[in-house]
Amino acid sequence: MTAIFIQAFIYLCAAVVMVPLAKRLGLGSVLGYLIAGVIIGPLTGLVGQETTTIQHFAEFGVVMMLFLVGLELQPATLWEMRNRLFGLGGLQVLLTALVISAIALALGQQWRTAVAIGLMFSLSSTAIVLQTFNEKGLSKTEGGRSAFSVLLFQDIAVIPMLALLPLLALPALQAGAGDAAHGPDHQQTISLVAGLPNWAAALVVLLSITGLVIAGHFLSRPLFRYVAESGLREAFTAAALMLVIGIAALMSLVGLSPALGTFLAGVVLANSEFRHELEADIEPFKGLLLGLFFITVGAGINFDILSANLTTVVGLAVGLMILKALLLFGLAILFGVHASDRWLFTLSLAQAGEFGFVLLTYAVGQHVLDNALAQLLSMVVALSMFLTPALFILFEKIIQPRYRQQESGPQTSTVDELGPVIIAGIGRFGQVVNRLLIANQIPTVVLDYKASQVDTLRKINIKSYYGDAGRSELLHTAGIDDARLLVIAIDDRTRAVEMVKHVKHAHPHVEVLVRAYDRGHHYELNDAGADYVISEVYNSALQMGGEVLQRLGIHPFQAEQLKQHFTRAEHSFFEELFHSWRNEGENVGFDHQYRQLFIKFQEQLTAMMQQSPDDRHSGAERGWTPPPKDYTKEIG
């Protein structure tokens, strides 16, 4: 147990020190994790052999990431992608595999080995690329979307590759290994489809996917609603984890890629009201696991092999990246990806990826590669991943600015999603706000922590999501980063104040408009930095007061003016009352001095409203006042 604590501490410590540093230097978090890995691994030797085991575990971060990506993709959007997915992605994998195999063959490898190398190097790193896109806000650009299509196709392509590799086994290696040396993966595999005839296996796979889609569509809602009604946040987190892990398990059982399975599940749930809460729950796990994965890549770099074959490894890695980049550039031209997007597409996918590691291990187990070569190649994969953040920096610092000048003005490729208005709390108050906005075609994202409320609203076609809007992760997935405005109309007063503080601190660009419960709450919200505060019943009470005046015989127009003047007078006292309240210290109450002030203002207010309309020096408030009776004499 102690050993585990120490290990965990070392990993966390490296990440905590290096990642913020790398980000501050503009290198991106991925490079930070990689460097952290190098430091605790090959440089200082703090961690050692276990990195490979941890890496397998950390690869689950990729699975979670694809689930999150799926959540962002409506099924319709996925359908629109089909040409790019199979055209661009298919051609990329096929061409890259062919060219690399040919080169490997020319470098003197056997054809079986050459094909295996071609396949594993055709893949790119979903983890690095998507993580970096997210971090730098490139996901919604044309280049980002194209790159994603290719990554998704690669993910699908891994499955037939895994099936193909055993067929490429080298007779010499097989014979040398004897019958005892089965790959570790091979022994551990539990499979539903092993030993079934092909048609039955295909049927099981098909049924699993159909079952996944149908269950995702029909069963997930009652399940999540049941959990949500309990009001326990950790229960919901557990449910979210259960979903992702369960799907990953099912997919592994039928021999499909877990990443692909969770991606599909994500797409199925993309329209669900629980989408944002699911994202918020899975996101931290994904982030940690991916970080851990990058650290293990860095830690896995073997300096002995690297220094012994330095020129070979560096040469192969750079050569590989140039080759992949050339092919990608050509494909980008063919598929009409333009300008800076073409460069993004080219540079982002030029590395070899984490699936390369998986295939390498598997290939060794299946006697397709010998150990020495596999180690050398895994250094090439690692180095190419290591160089990728540098390419992103190249894109960001040199290429993008150049095109931005040419395009002059904001990039059109990123404006397809207008910054929405987020409404937290969709009770009686939030609903009116939302309806007004929706009726005027202003996009809103509505959040409420009552699943039943969200359900009701969804039935009348109000797009709302379940979740606790007080959580910063949920606000994040609801799009606070791109939002213009946040309307807070939640019942929990303390929470509302905390939300204002958090959002004004973390997202100063977002204007925060809040409903206050009463006067004290109003002051607290002002104090917290809210941009606009409205007392929840003030206007309806005022309306009622005006109605009373009218029914007492006061002319409706005059009643209206009295109301307006009353409000203005109130506003004019606000600052002073607010300061008095604030000076009471933090015991947040209305002490004697405040009460005195309030009484004084009430008297002033009465005096102001009572003044004769003829008196033109009646303070700040007045409407139309007639001139004196005899004024015409002066003018004549």
């Binding site: 033109r616 409407g623 006042t625 001139p627 004024y631």
Partner: protein
């Protein structure tokens, strides 16, 4: 000797997003030295005009401009409300009501009818100058120099006929002349509109 004049533009258009002429005039008047631009409908969406503030604005400027589309031979309603409330007894007229004395007053307006319709023989029967007489008399009673209006006729089709650009350019020149205190004394006070004199105002300056 002309000195810098401070110009206050009171702009009134109730549906700016549909405006084809006045919005351009509004934009052309923004961000200029010695020009204060007040979009009345924006500032007082509930018509609750702050009398004190408006009176102070008047005191702070030398030239008062009403900029508006002509509605039923008069200003849009908020400009009328503004007059009713702001031009108070004791401020703009009557005892001690001398706050506006010596200032200049100008209407910048767009009118739907063609110029020839604003004529005794036209369907509007009166010239634009005659129709604006309530404002002219207001200026007179409050001691302001009334300038002939700066008008664009046939405003509904001005954009299609490509007349807006010229008009806006001319307005810029007139605004220059106003801020520079360059209103020539020989501008005939009874001119129907100020439009034909804008170019000559500028020539004199050059």
């Amino acid at each position: 000797m002309p000195t810098q004049q401070r110009v206050l533009i009171l702009f009134a258009h109730p549906s700016l997003h549909r405006s084809e002429v006045n919005r351009q005039l509004l934009e052309a008047s923004r961000h200029r030295d010695n020009v204060t631009l007040v979009d009345l409908y924006r500032e007082y969406p509930t018509y609750l005009i702050d009398i004190e503030r408006e009176q102070q604005r008047l005191r702070d400027h030398d030239v008062i401009v009403f900029m508006f589309p002509l509605y039923w031979y008069s200003t849009p309603s908020i400009l009328k409300e503004w007059q009713d409330l702001v031009l108070e007894y004791g401020f703009a007229y009557g005892q001690d009501g001398t706050a506006l004395h010596g200032k200049a007053f100008l209407c910048v307006l767009s009118a739907g009818g063609a110029e020839k319709a604003y004529h005794a023989d036209g369907y509007n029967h009166f010239t634009i100058r005659e129709l604006l007489q309530p404002l002219e008399q207001t200026a007179s009673l409050t001691g302001m120099r009334y300038l002939p209006p700066f008008a664009l006729f046939g405003a509904r089709t001005a954009a299609e006929e490509g007349r807006v650009g010229d008009h806006v350019a001319r307005w810029r020149r007139l605004l220059d002349a106003l801020t520079e205190g360059n209103l020539a004394a020989d501008l005939p006070d009874d001119a129907l509109t100020i439009n034909p004199y804008v170019d000559s105002l500028l020539e004199k300056r050059a």
